[in-house]
Symmetry: C2
Subunit: 494 residues, 2 copies
């Protein structure tokens, strides 16, 4: 065999083992008996040990040096392996294992602190995590990742090629228009009514399955279960999704299902020949989020689709006091201030992200220390959202990300919205009759377009390149902002 | 660290990875989307590769040479690792991988042949499997396993210390008494009525859960799901069971649940300090089957327990024409001739096993060739069961075992029944009031006794030694035969 074939065969087994590790996480969140938690930790550590040894195996370096790619996909696969191998090699083994040890404990401490609204309980741990992640960022930067910048070197793990500067420029243009839109919407006279009533679990789950089908989710290669936090899991032919049910808030179940179907559709849509190669998964967190967001918002919360959804809800749950043909669309798009990012509407969501992004950057080279983080959070929140944080669980302690060392991850959520805005503009141009399908509860023409333009390529193109090829224009925040202003302007009569 | 500590740390990770492999099989049979089958094969192969490399790692040999055990459990762990390592080392790598390759295909061919009742479709494959397993047996025998006998060397994998000769002696004493009992029972005037009616799935599953609870299954460390063939899976704190539902035959669901609870109770009952060591699993297939069988038959089909079960069934399914206090016990223990081993009653079951055992031995050194196997099966079946096999799916093609190379496995089922007979005798002596609990639907006193005498020890003692210690007498077939003659003599008025 050639070095290329040897490397790809080795990589296939590594990717296959990584799929098993992912499925163990799925099992842990959906199926695992409670009493197995501790044992499971040992099992996962054993498998992580195997994966780590493979990812840092010195033979990979030798193969990379000798390998010649036979085609474009092969060249890209080599690039991705080289990048991952270089990142692993740049972080000292002692630091990597210290990060693994500290973050595995930190998540539990964060959860305790959040439950008790006790920031002081969490800060010493967060300080350790930030210190270790700064060290990691610096080690990566010293090896040339992130253009020599520590925060960019971390960001590079989730959104390759993006930099804090480029993201800050986009966010800088978005913020004033979002703040203005938010103020106009909240000040409008004619506010949509919130949804009221109790919506039985069985009906919500039945409808969640119908929604997944409506968006083209392939049940032959997936399944839907319940978990505390909805997520999608797996690549290739085993892409599973989860949802949750709150009987007073069916939108929680229904729109998180559509969101996870977006993630799963990306993975299910990747060409089969990329399976178990570095091209066999979504290319970045931002592009992944673009799929979940366009499904959830631009399509799932469109006037056409909510017309169908409102009718379905009336058929399943009976009259719940909202006219399915008219008021329901406004109710499904109701803008309301709130503390919690994951519950935010389309107008508020990116403001939550921008705040986290700015705080992260300040922690990494901007002079902010963990001891001052809560005050920084609260004062920024008051400024952007016009209300004071009422308790730490609604403020600094609301997200798990920082406790497990995910710095550089948050901005990819907003980047996903920006990409979704671009894709939606191009998709509507190509499919002028899409609303006819959506009004009939069929979003599959949109999935087909996204599959052809984005999903099937997996990791073949770099993130911004995927979007540019799909849309025919370079990614920009303008389509998203235009869409939001037009949509909410109409809903609120601005 | 000492060599002993190094070896045990290495072994812990191997055992943890083996747990993950087992859970992937569980997932495949219960949760996996259909379309993931091929991908899953690659994933399992990757993990098997990791496990195989660890099990044949040359460092294990070095550690074994240098290690000194600190105590009895440590010494036994070393013995078990030494034995497994020696077995792996004795089989040439090329032969091991050829067996893996051929048997993975053979199972599919067997399933096709069974579906089409086409023995000729299966025989060439079975010939290959038998040839490879003979080679494996001879390689193991040459290394001293099985006392130098090829069949015993295979048997040794499932029931260490047992030999074909010792099993043949037991079976030779059992067969005449079983044949005589079978003839007397089938010739009796007063035959129990079979169960009639349709029993809805939801009710069966509810009752299956109640039964698991009645036998002390620990739901905190397990769960119950549906699969095509019932099985139990996992060790330590994650022991899962499955069942199946046939609406016309609720005993299928109910008694297979009790059977799997027996297997799971064994694993759940093992002392926590043995987790992820070679002592952290049941010691042999025979002892494992003794647990499932005593739960299912001696306890689950007892007059006292069926009194409670019949009442529960009437409460759940309404009147199904069988008096729960009287006739139900006879119906639940009805003896009927049949072709299928897995559906056989207590009187017939061991006759099915003995036939397979004799045919296996004839294939391994007794001069029987695969080409003549069907005829040998059919003529022996006619002799022992008094009827001619009506189709291959009811004869030679009924069991999966031989297609995947499981030679030496069948006799452990009957050995399990023998051990169950011994344990039941000792348990009834120690717990004279057990029937009072069983009549109230509570079999937990029996589970407590079995946990203390058998289950908690895991792999600490050799199979026959576990039974001897638990019962206070050496294992023998007499208690089982006495129990069967007394029980069915009373039911059939002999």
């Amino acid at each position: 065999m050639t070095a290329f074939a040897d490397l790809m065969a080795f990589q296939r087994d590594t990717e296959a083992l990584a799929q098993i590790a992912g499925r163990q996480e799925w099992d842990q969140e959906t199926m695992m008996p409670e009493g197995a938690a501790e044992q499971r930790g040992d099992e996962r550590a054993a498998l992580e040990g195997v994966l780590h040894a493979r990812r840092t195996d010195p033979r990979v370096g030798d193969w990379l040096e000798a390998a010649r790619a036979p085609d474009e996909a092969g060249a890209r696969a080599l690039d991705l392996i080289r990048r991952a191998h270089g990142r692993n090699a740049a972080v000292p083994a002692a630091l990597a294992s210290e990060i693994a040890r500290v973050t595995s404990v930190a998540q539990g401490i964060w959860a305790e602190a959040r439950a008790k609204d006790d920031v002081a309980h969490f800060l010493p741990t967060l300080e350790k995590v930030v210190r270790l992640m700064r060290e990691k960022g610096e080690a990566l930067a010293a090896a040339g990742f992130g253009g020599g910048n520590a925060y960019d070197a971390l960001l590079d793990d989730y959104e390759p090629e993006a930099t804090a500067e480029s993201i800050a420029a986009i966010f800088g243009r978005m913020r004033p228009r979002l703040v203005a839109l938010r103020e106009a919407v909240l000040g409008a006279d004619n506010q949509p009514a919130p949804l009221r009533g109790t919506f039985a679990e069985a009906g919500q789950l039945k409808l969640a399955r119908d929604l997944a089908t409506a968006f083209g989710y392939d049940w032959h290669r997936g399944r839907l279960d319940l978990s505390v936090h909805p997520f999608s899991s797996g690549s290739g032919n085993d892409c599973r999704i989860t949802t949750r049910v709150v009987e007073a808030d069916p939108f929680n179940c229904l729109y998180s299902t559509i969101h996870e179907v977006g993630h799963a559709a990306y993975e299910q849509g990747i060409e089969q020949r990329y399976l178990f190669t570095p091209l066999g998964a979504g290319v970045s967190m931002g592009v992944h989020e673009s799929q979940s967001r366009i499904y959830e918002n631009q399509l799932g919360r469109s006037r056409a689709f909510t017309g169908w959804l409102g009718g379905k809800m009336h058929a399943i749950f009976g009259d719940f006091g909202t006219d399915p043909a008219g008021a329901f669309y406004r109710t499904a798009n109701r803008v309301a201030p709130g503390f919690i990012r994951t519950e935010a509407d389309e107008v508020h969501y990116n403001l939550h992200i921008m705040m986290r992004f700015d705080l992260e950057r300040a922690l990494f080279g901007g002079g902010l220390e963990v001891a001052d983080l809560e005050e920084a959070w609260n004062s920024r929140f008051a400024k952007d959202f016009g209300v004071a944080v009422d308790r730490p669980a609604h403020g600094l302690l609301q997200d798990v990300h920082w406790s497990v060392g995910l710095f550089g991850y948050f901005p990819t959520y907003a980047l996903g919205n920006v990409y979704a805005g671009c894709l939606h503009k191009a998709l509507r141009t190509d499919l002028p009759d899409l609303d006819t399908s959506l009004a009939a509860g069929d979003a599959r023409p949109a999935t087909e377009w996204l599959r052809d333009r984005v999903q099937r390529h997996g990791g073949l193109y770099k993130p911004a390149e995927v979007i540019r090829r799909a849309c025919g224009f370079a990614p920009s925040e303008s389509p998203l902002l235009d869409y939001l202003e037009e949509k909410f302007g109409a809903i609120y009569g601005l």
